[in-house]
Structures are given as C-alpha cells and as structure tokens.
C-alpha cells in the first residue's frame, strides 16, 4: 500500500508539477495568514502581525525550496531541469555544438562500426550448442606449422583419444551437381559420420549419417542444407525420391539440416567421406578435424591427449620426413576460423580507439573554450548558492547530452558504415555474415558514449570549477581567453592529439606504402583481358575414363578458340592468386631414365635420400596457359603436339625451382618422379624452364613449381583461361553455349582474371582505405587554443614552428617506412616507439628527396592541415557567449 502511495506521489510530482506547486503556494500563504491572524488576536497591529508572521515563517520561497527538495523524484526534476538548461546553452552556440556533435558522431560511429565487425567475427560465439566446447584439431609438422590431418592419423586420433565425445573430419570442394532444379557448381563437404554430433545438431527432416553410410562401398547418401532443400529441391517432405548426381555419381538425399547451418561456410551438401576407401598415407593431409570435448575435459587436457597420440604416431611411422606430423594441437574452432583475422581487426579497433581519443581531445578543447567564457555565469550561480557539485553536474549533463546526440547519430552512421565495410572487406575475412549492428553492439555504443560523456564532463567540470569561482565576478566579467592553467591544459591536449595523429599517420603510411610495394611487384603474368572458366567433370580413377576427360578438354579448348575475339585458350589446375586454395605441393624425386618405379612403397626408401628429393608445387596446365598468362619461356620448350598421352611424359619447371634445385646445372633433360601428386608413376622429363609467378599473392615469394601437361596427366577440375579482345559478356555466353553443347550437365563459373587478382589484394586495400579514412577525417579543432592565443598577441615562435616541424618529421617517417615496407601495421605502430627515440637527430637535408613515399604525401597534407589556425571558428566561440 505505501508503495502505491509513493508511486502515485512520484507520478504526480513528475506530471502534475504545476498543480503541486499551486497547492504548495496556497498552503504556505494560508499558513502565513493564519499566523498573522493569531498575532492580531494576541493584540498586534495588522502590519506588525504580518511582519512577525513572515519572520517566523522564514521566507516563503525558502520554505518552498525545502519542501521541493524533500519531494519524491526531485532528482529527476533537477536532472530534467539541467537538461533543459543544457539544451538552451547548447542551442545558444549552434556552431560549436554542431561541431562537437558531428565530431563525436564520426568517432563513435566509426568505433561502433569497427566494433561490430570485431564482435561479429571474433567475439560472437559460433551459432552452435555449447560452441565453446567445439575444438579444431591439427597436426603440427617438424617446422611447427599446423597441417590438416591425414586419414590414418585422424583414425588414430578418433580411436585413441579420451577427450572428445565426438570427433569428425571434414573437407570441402566445389563440384558439379545435377539432378536438382538445374546443374550447378556447388560446395560439398565430405565428412565422417560423427560430423553433426560434433556441432550438436540433427536433421530437421530425414536422418543423420550412420556408421554404415560411411563404409567403403556403401550406398551413396547425402545431407542437404535447408536453403538447398528449399530452393533447389523444392522442399519435398518425402525424401525417398530425392536424388542428386554429384561428381558423376548418384546420391540419395537422406536428410535436411536446420536452417542456418552452413559449416564449413557456403557448403550445401554433406557426403560421407572416403566411400572409395581411405588414403593409407600418413603424409597426405587432406582433412580438417573438429571435435566436441567431453564434459569436464579442458582444452589443455585434450591437447596433452592429442599430442601424446601424435608423438606416438611420429615415433612408429615408417613415413619419416618433413611431411610427417611431429605433434598435434587442439584449439577452439572459433579461434581456428578467425585466428588470422584477429591481428588486423584488433589493429583497426586500436586505430579507431586512437581516433576516438583524438576526437575527445578536440571536444574537450572546445568544451574548455566554451566553459572559460562561461566563468561569469558560473560565478553568478555560485554566488547565488549553487554548490560546486551542482555545477559539476551541470557540466556532466551537458556532456551527456552532447555525447548521446553524437552517439545516436554515430550509430545511425554505423548502420550505413557497416554495409560499406562489408562491401570493402576482403572475401577471405571469415564469418562476415554474422556482422551486424546487434544488441551487444548497440550496448557497446551506448557505453562508449556514456564513458566519453563522463570523461569529457568530469574533465571540463574539474578544470572549470577548480579555484575560486567568484573571482569571475571580481575581474569585471569580461570573458577571458583562458587562464595560465587552462592554457597549459590546452597545450597538453594539442600535444596528445599530435602524438596520436602521428601514430595513425605512420600506420596508414606503412599500410599504404606496403600496398604500393605489393602493387609494384611484377606478378609474372598478365592480368587483363583474360576470362576464366571453372569446369569440373566427375572425378574418375580409371585411366581410360581419365583419358576421355583429357579429350573432352581438348575438344572444349578447340571450340573455345573459335569464339570471335578469343586469341588464345589454355587450361590449368590452379589459377595464381586464387582465393580457393592454391596448388598442392609435395616432394618429388630425382630419378634416372632407367630406374623404373613399380610400387608406391618402393619410393619410401628413395625419399630417405636427401640428394634425391626436391619440393615444389604441382600444376597441371596446357601450352596455351603459358601463352594466355604471358608466362615467359626462359629456356627449352613448353608442351606441344609431340607430348601426346602415350609419348614420354614431360614437365616444365619454374625459374626459381631450376635455380634452387639445380644450381650451376642444366635441369633440362633431368627426369623426376612426382607421381605422389596424381597417382601416375610415369617419370617426367624436364623440357623447359618458365618464369616465376606469384601464385600466392603478390606479397608472397614465388613458389617453385612443376608444370605437367593436362593431356598427359588429365584431371577432372580445371580452369580454362581465354585471352580475348572481345566483350567479356559475349565471350562468356558463347563459352557457356559451347559447354552446354558438349555436355549439358556440366556447369561453369566465369570470372575475369582481374576479379580474381583484385580479390587477392582485398585485405590490404581494406586496411589502407579504413585507416586512410580515419586520417582524412581528422577533426580540425586542435588549434583553437593557438588561434585564441594569437588573437591576444601571445603567439610564440616555437608554436609557429609546429607545422613545418611536423612536416619534416613526417618526411622522415616516409623514408623510414620505405625501409620497412611490407611490415604489418601493428609491427609498424610498435616500431614507432623505437623510432620516436631516434627521431631527435634527424636533419633537414635528409628529407628532401623522399616526398614520393606514400606516407610523406599523406603526412605533409596532414601537417598543412594541422598548422593552419582556424581563426574564424575561434572568433565565433568568443562571440557566442
């Protein structure tokens, strides 16, 4: 009951405040009059009676104030009052207010947008039950690098571990699938039967895999994603009639997985792995592995467990060598997916954090400037009895208003910004689909705004209300341009801003410079005017079937050559810089012509002889491939019509392989054995040497590569390359028609090589654009203090020198980052500290020729910007009060 009364009073005080006030007024006046009447009755004159009553009352307004302070919800009233007052103050100075709100909006918006990416990619848990219990398992090789699992190793992990309640291996690849609405290239994942148990999900329709489904020679079964079931299969409730032709074999659809489950990313179909039998090699690293920890088992325990098994395998295996595992490791699946994205994302978050600091420093400066002009108002309020705490609260309230407005605008901007970020983001950034402005992100933005407000408000209030406020009245009330103390604070803020800006500038310079360096690298091939076409035929093992696939591609190439405008056509197993994976690599053997290998086992001993082995990428290609990409022939010859399926098999090697494996020797004429890559044990005779290519991106060194002839070593999945002067769309549709004509069940994916190429630069460009953006929008108000001072004739030479000084400093940085080109941003920022110590002794003459560096360009612009005083704004601030 009292609670109800209280609530009623609270609401009445809040919403009927006028009536409550009238009530109070009447009550106090009635009281006064009654006291006066009493006095008259006691024999006083009416005037004296009233005066005596007033004295006893002690002032009508004081009584009212005392009552008001007792009221429920009084604090809310005074906060609302502060807000109203604050809004009036802010509206009185629309210029600075707008600048502050805009600055905060940009900073908070940028931070929120980046945080949304960081949250979505790194922090948000994977969308599976107890996803923190799901681990990824890797082999660790002799060099300490993590590798995928070989089949027998996985089997040992699965059978011998005591840490996982379920563990499964999986892989993914793109194949041709028909039997649904239309043939398509679809991402499928071969998985072992416990795969769904690891993720704790069950089919919403049909059944999961059983151990029988995975046995060698079992009937072929497939699970489909919800989206695939809806769109490509037409949502049938009865799956008994649903069949798909995957990679040439017919599979029965046995189940549909829940909506939203796509793991690995983009997979639509899951098949039992190894229906044709496992690969017995312990060095064929073909599968990822994931497991769900048993209850009570920690990651450390699981690691020890897996590590012990791995070392046991290492000690007992007959396949010793660099490719055999040395150890095993267990990490959370989330980390294994997002691990590579972590450093750049955190660097970005750090960069926006700095940006936020710069913005806060600017705003603090502006607030101080405003507040120092309000000294007189503060003096009057304090003289009228306002406590210091009350004044501080006023400043806090205003800071809250500003930063909430800024934060609100910023979040609106972030909605737009996130869309932009996602557009810019490199395709290989994992988990992009889970990036959005979600509740935790909004909460972050709100907390950020609150923190900014608290910081700014407390700082301004503490600065302004320290000392004797009433002095403001004594000094005659002319708005002063800051006391000695506040000017010192202003200078500190400017210095901090310059320092932070420097970090950003150097970071951006480094990133930009490394991007430019990378772009300057000669990739070793042509990029423009090339249309690529991914085609995969069903995988076959039978040599005759393989040979017929070679004929199919030969026909296809011949037909493609006839498209008007197409000059050359080639085919390859892996396009350089392709994000899909890259070429397989392995060890080859140097053999002499008369050593005829018979079995795979026979090679075991040969691989022990160090002088016989070499390491290279294995690429299947046609002669046209070298011509289309413009990969130059250094010596010897490339493939030609002599190299038919039944002629001796030949190979072409890359320049770096020739140099490194056969130093001071002519590799042409040597024979090698590389059959472990495709199962064909016939020797390869080296007939030519071609130029290097940067297959793994421009920032990676070229890999040694062995090229073999597609027509001798056929394979099912190839990328056709067409060099053409004609319109891309025209070429694409003609090529699609030809493929349709040859085999209507085979789909193809078309891209231009430029697309593939620029995708590989995505992450670098992403970083540069982001950090560059932050620099570009450096808020311009770091200099109000200087402007204010110069107006008062206090400008000193040292301050005049700031601008050119910074410029020199930046030129020097430009030079410095040339030398460090290619370092990552975080290394760069760390190196900046070292650099700062060394920078004291740079000389003017050092700086002249270095303007060309990207950083230098950025920097001199920033410096000019920074050193120009904004007198007009400063004037307006003064006038505004």
């Amino acid at each position: 009951m009292p609670l109800f009364v209280k609530a009623r009073s609270f609401l009445r005080n809040l919403f009927l405040s006028r009536r409550v006030e009238i009530d109070l007024d009447q009550e106090v006046h009635a009281h006064l009059e009654m006291m006066a009447e009493e006095n008259i009755r006691a024999g006083m004159q009416p005037n004296d009676a009233l005066r005596a009553a007033r004295v006893e009352l002690g002032g009508i307004d004081q009584v009212k104030v005392q009552v008001r302070e007792q009221r429920l919800g009084n604090w809310l009233h005074s906060v609302l009052f502060d807000c109203r007052y604050g809004i009036r103050q802010l509206r009185k100075n629309p210029g600075p207010t707008a600048v502050i709100v805009f600055t905060l909006a940009l900073a908070i918006g940028a931070t929120t947008a980046i945080f949304s990416v960081v949250y979505g990619v790194l922090l948000r848990p994977l969308p599976y039950t107890d996803s923190n219990r799901i681990m990824a398992v890797f082999e660790v090789n002799a060099e300490g690098r993590w590798a995928h699992l070989a089949d027998p190793n996985f089997d040992d992990f699965r059978d011998q571990n005591r840490s996982f309640q379920a563990i499964a291996k999986y892989s993914e690849y793109v194949v041709s699938v028909s039997g649904a609405s239309q043939p398509s290239r679809t991402t499928v994942a071969p998985v072992s039967p416990d795969f769904l148990k690891v993720f704790g999900i069950q089919p919403i329709l049909g059944r999961d895999f059983t151990a029988d489904d995975a046995k060698k020679g079992a009937g072929r079964t497939v699970l489909v994603s919800y989206g695939y079931w809806r769109q490509d299969l037409g949502s049938p409730q009865d799956l008994s009639q649903a069949h798909l032709k995957i990679d040439g074999a017919v599979y029965s659809v046995i189940g549909v997985l829940p909506a939203g489950f796509r793991f690995p990313a983009d997979v639509d179909l899951w098949l039992p792995a190894d229906l044709d039998g496992e690969n017995p090699s312990r060095t064929a690293h073909n599968y990822y592995a994931a497991g769900r920890l048993r209850d009570g088992v920690t990651v450390e325990l699981a690691n020890r467990d897996i590590s012990a098994i791995a070392r046991r395998i290492h000690d007992t295996s007959s396949e010793q060598g660099d490719y055999l595992l040395k150890d095993g490791i267990v990490v959370s699946l989330q980390n294994s997916i997002t691990g590579k994205a972590r450093p750049p994302l955190l660097v970005l978050l750090g960069a926006v954090g700095f940006l936020l600091l710069v913005a806060c420093a600017n705003v603090a400066n502006l607030l101080l400037a405003q507040a120092s002009v309000r000294e007189r108002e503060l003096a009057i309020r304090s003289a009228l009895g306002a406590a210091r705490g009350r004044l501080i609260r006023q400043f806090l309230t205003e800071a809250f208003l500003l930063s909430l407005a800024g934060g609100g605008l910023g979040v609106l901007g972030a909605f737009w910004g996130v869309a932009g970020l996602l557009g810019l983001a490199p395709q290989n950034l994992p988990r992009l689909d889970s990036v959005s402005i979600s509740v935790p992100v909004l909460l972050f933005a709100f907390l950020l705004s609150t923190a900014v407000a608290a910081g700014l408000g407390a700082f301004t209030a503490a600065r302004v209300t320290s000392g004797d406020l009433r002095k403001g009245l004594v000094e005659g009330g002319r708005g002063q341009a800051g006391s000695q103390g506040s000017q010192r604070v202003g200078r500190v803020i400017v210095a901090a801003q310059i320092a932070i800006t420097l970090v950003l500038v150097v970071g951006a310079g480094l990133l930009g410079r490394s991007l430019m360096k990378v772009l300057e690298v000669n990739p070793g091939f042509r990029v423009d005017k090339i249309v690529t076409m991914d085609v995969s035929l069903p995988w076959v093992d039978d040599p005759k079937a393989k040979a017929s696939q070679a004929i199919f591609f030969s026909n296809l190439i011949d037909r493609l050559k006839q498209i008007p405008g197409v000059r050359k056509v080639g085919a390859t197993s892996g396009l350089p810089m392709n994000q899909d994976g890259g070429l397989p690599d392995g060890m080859f053997l140097l053999m002499t012509q008369n050593e005829i290998p018979r079995t795979t086992d026979g090679f075991g001993a040969l691989f022990q002889q160090k002088e016989r082995i070499g390491n290279a990428d294995f690429c299947v290609a046609t002669d046209g491939y070298f011509q289309v990409l413009g990969i130059p022939l250094i010596r010897g010859r490339i493939f030609d019509e002599r190299d038919g399926a039944n002629s001796p098999h030949v190979a072409v090697i890359s320049e770096s392989l020739a140099r490194d494996r056969w130093p001071n020797q002519e590799p042409i004429g040597h024979t090698i054995e590389f059959g472990n890559m495709d199962g064909d044990l016939r020797l390869l005779t080296i007939v030519g040497i071609v130029g290097d290519t940067h297959e793994y991106g421009l920032d990676a060194p070229p890999r040694p590569t062995v090229y073999v002839n597609l027509f001798q070593r056929p394979r099912a999945a190839v990328t056709l390359t067409m060099l053409s002067d004609a319109d891309t769309r025209m070429v694409t549709s003609a090529a699609r028609g030809i493929l349709q004509d040859l085999n209507p069940e085979i789909p193809a994916r078309f891209r231009t090589f430029s697309q593939v190429y620029s995708a590989s630069l995505g992450s670098r460009r992403f970083n540069v654009i982001l950090i560059g953006f932050f620099l570009f929008r450096q808020p311009p108000h770091a200099r109000d203090w200087r402007a204010r001072r110069s107006r008062r004739g206090l400008r000193r030479r040292s301050e005049d020198d700031i601008g050119p000084g910074i410029a020199h400093y930046f030129y020097w940085c430009g030079d410095w980052d040339c030398r460090f080109a290619g370092t990552d941003a975080h290394r760069g920022v760390a190196a900046l500290w070292r650099h700062c110590h060394r920078s004291a002794d740079f000389r003017r003459s050092d700086t002249a020729p270095r303007w060309r560096s990207a950083a230098g360009l950025f920097h001199s612009g920033a410096a000019r910007h920074e050193s120009r005083p904004n007198g007009r704004l400063a004037l307006r601030i003064e006038r505004g009060f």
């Binding site: 009951m1 009550e27 006893e56 009352l57 002690g58 009552v67 007792q70 009221r71």
Partner: protein, 110 residues
C-alpha cells in the same frame, strides 16, 4: 516559566507530528501549535522544517491531506493520520521508548 525551546532530535519530528495528529485532523499551523503544547513548549517547529516533513510523510503514505475550512472560515490544508501512519506511530513510539530508556540508563538519570 516555560523551558528554553530545544532543537529537535533527528527523527523526533516525524514522531511528534504523528502523535499530534492522533488527536484528529489538523492544518500545518495546528500541528505546529499542538507540538508546542504537548511538549510543554520545549519544541517549536518552524515552517521550514514542518512543511518538508509533512510533505515527505504524505508521500510515505503515513498521513493524507485535504483542503478544508479553518476555525475562521479560511481555506486551509488539513492533514490526517492514515492506517500506515498509525502503525508507524506505534513502531516509532516503541523504538523511542527503548532509546530514551537506554539513554536515561546510560546517563544515570532515571
């Protein structure tokens, strides 16, 4: 000779207001005079203390108010004790009894 007015102890004002209202509904001045009367002039409650206390107690739900006519037919705001106020008075009275006994014991003036 009436004793010197004493300043009110913390918490006693509420108790005195509740106690004075037990005699019936009354306006602010009435409460003030009543307190003066029942304490033998020891406590004189100034309006600056009285009104905030009355309003606070009304918000607590111990007393309720209404507008009525005074002895001289003047419009005045009257207060009356509510059930919750009565309970509060009982509780406070007990507490006060304990405290005053304890203080008297401590000072040895009983």
């Amino acid at each position: 000779m009436s004793p010197e007015p004493t300043s009110l102890l913390q918490g006693t004002l509420d108790l005195l207001i509740l106690k004075s209202l037990i005699a019936g509904e009354m306006h602010g001045l009435g409460v003030s005079r009543r307190i003066q009367q029942i304490t033998g002039g020891t406590f004189v409650v100034k309006p600056g203390s009285l009104f905030p206390a009355l309003h606070r107690m009304e918000e607590e739900g111990w007393i309720s108010s209404f507008w009525g006519a005074s002895e001289n037919n003047r419009r005045a705001k009257y207060y009356r004790l509510s059930k919750a106020g009565l309970r509060q008075l009982e509780a406070e009275t007990k507490r006060w009894g304990r405290i005053s006994w304890a203080i008297a014991q401590a000072l040895g003036v009983s």
